[in-house]
Amino acid sequence: MTQKSFNPLPYLLILPTLIFILLFTVYPTFQVLRESQVYFHPNRPERQRDTDLNLPGIESETRSIRGPYNVGFAYFRAMFNPSTTEGEIFYQVMGNTLRYTIVTVPVSILLAFLFALLVNRTVQGIGLARVALFYPTMLPMVSAATIWLFFFTPEYGLWNAALRFFGYRGAENWVINRDLALYGLMIVAIWKNAGYFMIFYLAGLQGLPDDIFEAADLDGATWLTKIMKITLPLLRRTTLFITVIAIIGAFQNIDHALILTNELVTGEADLLLYEIYQQRFVLQNYGFANALTVVMITLLLLFTIVNFLLSERSDDQ
């Protein structure tokens, strides 16, 4: 690899990949930054003029109610002010996204670890058990949602039947109910993802050295001690990795919401990406959708930085 003269070949080899990444990742990231400062709401009904003017920066009565015109950072000011329409939606959506992530990520990781312990044994039929736990990974999120839509049906849905068996007497329609819809989304996501995360733990468990466990056995360590003191610490990197893909996954896969919370018109269970979709493609509120996208990108970048710092630290140890 002598550098006698300029060799354009590596650049040409990267070019095809780079063109598409520039066009569909880098350019849109900057475009959305600019567009989030433009008010554009082509199908805004005249009668909604009042709520429209709630947006700080859009005061003039003479201005077109549909835009487009430049509003600077008005959307961001509005979003962080809960008394505006945008702020109300923003707080609701961020709260939902946070709750959704905080529940689905740890629960599916915990289940994944438990599953991995159970199927990392040599018992007859264990291959079948792995398939039984992993198969939801191969299902589209929509079909998982259509199946679960039935389970959540009041009166005869199996989920409710099971809950009633255990003495549950609360509200039954997990899809339409404002308080339960978000939990409905969480349950589907956990059911779908636990088996996927399981395989990473399974790979991790299979890579653990046997002699440590033999030594622990000689010391008379119990099953639980071995897991807490040996297995989990040794699989720390695996856990970190799964956490990263779980969080990014929770942000980007909202296909089940299109089925499950479609009938909830008031947005009690809206997740961030779902709200972006709604604002842009259902309500045609372009500017707000772009501003929400900027928030999403910012969150992902912050997350990447935190994750980078964390993994640097665990490398040092």
């Binding site: 990267i14 159970l118 018992v123 059911w191």
Partner: protein
């Protein structure tokens, strides 16, 4: 597989307990799919009721027939032309995506693994931005790009944002870096051109990575909904959108057998391939998690 029976009482009971737990959890996890399959064989007009959510008095394929009649899952021939169908659309964009990825990825991975050049790190990070910001997040600006390019409602529109894959490039670069330096050097001594090196030195030992990426890519795109939903309107709709539309078209409450039949229709091929090559699939998905 034989069970490693250890004649030690506590160990023995532990194993039994673990087996029961495994069995119960697996049962819980397969109930949804088993239920869907069972119900899809009920007659379409036979609605589910209290204590009647599994078998009907007869099993029939009528629900499948009705589902196929209601929505264009499969191509039909009209006036000598093959009509657009969900299946054909999904297969088209899944194959198109993978085919292009299999061309762009090895080239970029080869450049990053084999050459030293000015700006290599910056370019690599630029590619990796796609890992940080998943493409689907950018659906609002990307939709505009697709519109500007005049690609709305085409297979190409669904596939194009995924033509360059940071994930695949990264994975393949890792595989290329594992190729022993001696092999590369002897290739260079023999006067290999770069494409010979790529074809005969780098790619053969990286087959497993390519297969893993292929399986992950195919199942990801086969299953995706949000992006296709945004960039297609009619003729290019894939299977997942067919299912979404199907649930909106029919009065679901009364027609579960139709919805489950439609669900089985769209998941069947991928599930079948998964069940046949399950070990390969699980290994590939594991592999896809390499850091």
């Amino acid at each position: 597989m034989t069970s490693n029976f250890i004649p030690q009482k506590s160990r023995h009971w532990g194993t039994i307990g673990a087996n029961i737990a495994t069995g119960l959890i697996c049962l819980l996890w397969v109930i949804p799919i088993v239920w869907a399959i069972v119900v899809s064989f009920r007659p379409p007009q036979d609605s589910l009721g209290h204590n009647d959510v599994w078998f009907s008095d007869r099993l029939t394929l009528e629900s499948y027939q009705t589902a196929i009649d209601l929505a264009p899952f499969f191509p039909t021939i009209e006036d000598g032309k093959i009509s657009d169908s969900y299946y054909a659309n999904t297969i088209q964009y899944v194959v198109l995506t993978l085919a292009v990825q299999l061309m762009t990825m090895p080239l970029a991975a080869f450049a990053f693994a084999h050459y030293e050049f000015f700006g290599k790190r910056v370019l690599f990070y630029l590619v990796l931005t796609q890992l940080m910001i998943p493409t689907v997040i950018l659906l609002v600006p990307n939709f505009r790009t697709i519109r500007v390019l005049g690609l709305y409602d085409t297979t190409l529109a669904i596939a194009m944002p995924y033509f360059g894959s940071a994930f695949g490039t990264f994975l393949l670069r890792q595989a290329f870096l594992e190729v022993p330096r001696d092999m590369v050097d002897s290739g260079l001594m023999d006067g290999c051109r770069w494409y010979h090196l790529l074809r005969y030195v780098y790619l053969p030992p990286s087959r497993a990575t390519l297969v893993a990426f292929g399986l992950v890519s195919v199942s990801f795109h086969w299953n995706s909904l949000l992006w296709p939903l945004v960039v297609t309107s009619d003729k290019s709709r894939p299977l997942t959108m067919g299912l979404l539309r199907f649930t909106q078209l029919t009065d679901i409450g009364a027609r579960w057998s139709l919805v489950t039949a439609a669900t089985i229709i769209i998941i069947f091929p991928l599930m079948l391939i998964f069940l046949i090559f399950q070990k390969q699939f699980i290994r590939s998905f594991m592999h896809s998690g390499l850091k």
